[in-house]
Symmetry: C2
Subunit: 415 residues, 2 copies
């Protein structure tokens, strides 16, 4: 036993002695079925682990600058298949982590530094919650291509899963947070050792240390075996391949964090307000085609970092009139909400739009209402320049208009 292991045992024992929950005694049940029980099926046998039909070809696409985009136009319900969850690292191969070797260290301003194996974490009290993750730059200039036309190309950096894990607050309680600790820094096991700073208030509220996604372990591209979930906040916080959380008294403010934490005039760093309320009609949407006049169900997704979506309105006449869409029940806080609206298309050219309102009463704005960006700006490309230059990750929650031509083509009406 090396000294690190020895330290770990000691801390775990002290933890057990001091805290109500006997984490110190945590031992793991075997997590995975072994080959012995497969009765001749190899894991790559389609009977062992099923595949899609060869006629189903919906895939992630590559965004203009970074990442893999979720094909929202093909979505149904609110769950994003794990295989189609957006991804922000240009598709470089994710770390190939052996779960038996992986550890999560919690240290810094704590009474009892703790090291957890994956199996130990999985023996702790767990929670399962449906949350979206949206890249802070989704539908901003840094996500879409110049000629973005589809829901995927413009809005494809949001996805929604059933996540399972332990609350970070439980782990911190076990470690014993010291006085003066107000921030945390999380680090991933990727080559770049990505770090993210966040406030203690969020950590003690609802941050999840997730190991399960949609009923199975996280996919490697989503941080296998461990990632953080920040309900409602920008996906940037959701550190993947999580291996270390340090409790500190100030943010690290690494280069990439600056845009998220602009100090106010008195130098204080405000608490993030979460992703702005957004909705998009996914069907019919840009790039799709209506074969002719008649009945269509308009369907789409809405979500907000402000909590639950309370209302989605749809306009089928270019914004002159708006009517309430039906929301798929139940609507979860910080999750995609599916909305539906019955529409009879008369064959004339028109524009389809949706706008949502969240539980805080925040209403999704038009592009013009967002301020500083005119339709002319958009047409001349300053729309994309705006976000690229401002480095601002909020403010891209404009209402998405889809133009339906007389021929039934559906196009992005923004560009």
């Amino acid at each position: 036993m090396n000294s690190k292991q020895s330290d770990r045992r000691r801390f775990l024992k002290e933890g057990a002695a001091l805290a109500g929950l006997a984490v110190g005694a945590v031992r793991a049940a075997r997590g995975q079925t072994t080959g012995i029980e497969t009765l001749g099926l190899r894991p790559d046998d389609y009977r062992a682990y099923g595949m899609r039909s060869r006629f189903v070809t919906s895939v992630r696409t590559v965004g203009s600058r970074t990442g893999l985009l979720t094909p929202l136009q093909d979505s149904v319900g609110i769950i994003t298949p794990s295989a189609l969850h957006f991804e922000n690292t240009r598709g470089y191969p994710p770390p190939d982590i052996d779960p038996r070797q992986h550890r999560l260290l919690i240290h810094g301003l704590v009474d009892r530094p703790l090291i957890f194996t994956l199996e130990e974490l999985q023996c702790l009290p767990s929670v399962t919650r449906i949350y979206f993750i949206e890249c802070g730059g989704n539908s901003g200039g840094r996500t879409m291509t110049k000629n973005a036309e589809t829901a995927q190309q413009i809005h494809g950096k949001t996805s929604c899963s059933e996540w399972t894990g332990a609350l970070l607050s439980l782990l911190l309680q076990e470690a014993g947070v010291q006085k003066g600790a107000s921030w945390l820094v999380a680090e991933g096991a990727d080559l770049g050792k990505r770090t993210e700073s966040f406030q203690m208030e969020k950590a003690m509220d609802d941050v999840l240390v997730a190991y399960g996604q949609n009923g199975e372990p996280l996919r490697p591209q989503q941080g296998y075996p461990l990632r953080l979930l920040f309900p409602g906040w920008s996906g940037s916080f959701c550190v993947k391949w999580l291996r270390r959380i340090k409790v500190v008294d100030q943010p690290y403010l690494a280069k990439w964090e600056i845009g998220r934490f602009k100090p106010d005039s008195e130098g204080r760093i405000p608490f993030p307000t979460g992703q702005a309320p957004k909705s998009v009609i996914t069907r019919p949407s840009g790039g799709q085609r209506l074969p002719g006049p008649g009945f269509y169900e308009i369907s789409g997704l809405a979500w907000s970092g402000g909590g639950a979506i309370r209302r989605v309105e749809v306009s089928t006449d270019g914004g002159r009139t708006w009517k309430d869409a039906q929301l798929q029940e139940p609507v979860f806080r910080f999750a995609h909400a599916r909305f539906r609206y019955a529409w009879n298309w008369n064959g004339e050219e028109t524009v389809l739009q949706s706008r949502c309102t969240d539980e805080r009463g925040q209403v999704q704005p038009t592009l013009a209402e967002l301020g500083g960006i005119s339709a002319l700006d958009v047409a001349e490309g300053r729309f994309i320049d705006y976000w690229q230059k401002s480095n601002d990750e909020s403010g891209s929650n404009y209402i998405q208009p889809w133009k339906v031509t007389r021929e039934g083509s559906v196009r992005n009406a923004l560009f």
Copy 2:
């Protein structure tokens, strides 16, 4: 245009004229992303459609007589990954159906026979609901092996998904059900043309014609491109590769249906009561191992054809005392419910059990309470004989006891 197509157009037009919903004018939006938009990613590229970690090896296994079993012992949350959904056809390759060629015919005692393409169905008003499907024979003698030890081997013929589709009642309303029509017969496009009879009352209530599962099209093994969902009823009803529904005035009662529809003493066929309330601790469960005394979260699944699960109790002392487990909220009707219970194992041999109560007040019984089956019967193998001979698909919802030995081995305490 052949006469069949001509007929179809006529019927659709009449439908449009007569019914409130203009199904006659339904035209499809393009459902799938084309290769053009993939920017160089082939569908088999892991960036386009992600894969599991090579360290995640949980797979379906082959049951003793038929089917592929879901690895419940590895489950988290309530969603079963589509790739791990149980399957009842011995793993024979499913039909390789081209969705552009597939049709759903609704005919028989209707005013307007209808033929739908998949795209037409997808333009209709849709619903998304989380439902379990459980094989009527799950945890009965026809599912498990003689030496069944794991949750997968004994209970692995139940799975739970987010399903999306059109309500069958909407299609029937559109077709115009004639007087005297009281039964329906559904037929699949598999080689055996499996047919299932069911009552009009269920059809007009909540039966779903599903095309979506967990956010993407059904998997071929789950009936791609269409299957029926019967919330709460035996999975046998959920016809896969659905191609025809005939409205009739009596059940067909094909050979395999007899067990499900036993006429009463007056020759009447009773309405199915749905799957009996059942629960099983999935972790720790048979075949797993506890490394030593200490804290463990006991976690499992409960479900019932009677509606929502209202309560799950856990006993960690061989049934002497029972305490309420925590239910993952929200609890959906006719869906798996996840329960959790904090447990400190003192290292002594014991037996873990769970029992559930559904919204009807039905309580999961012990094996002895099921009647006719004693522990001795079980020990001597008459347990399995009982179900195999009786051909009874209900009554296998006994409380599952797991024995924990001093060494930490977890074993099936029934056999």
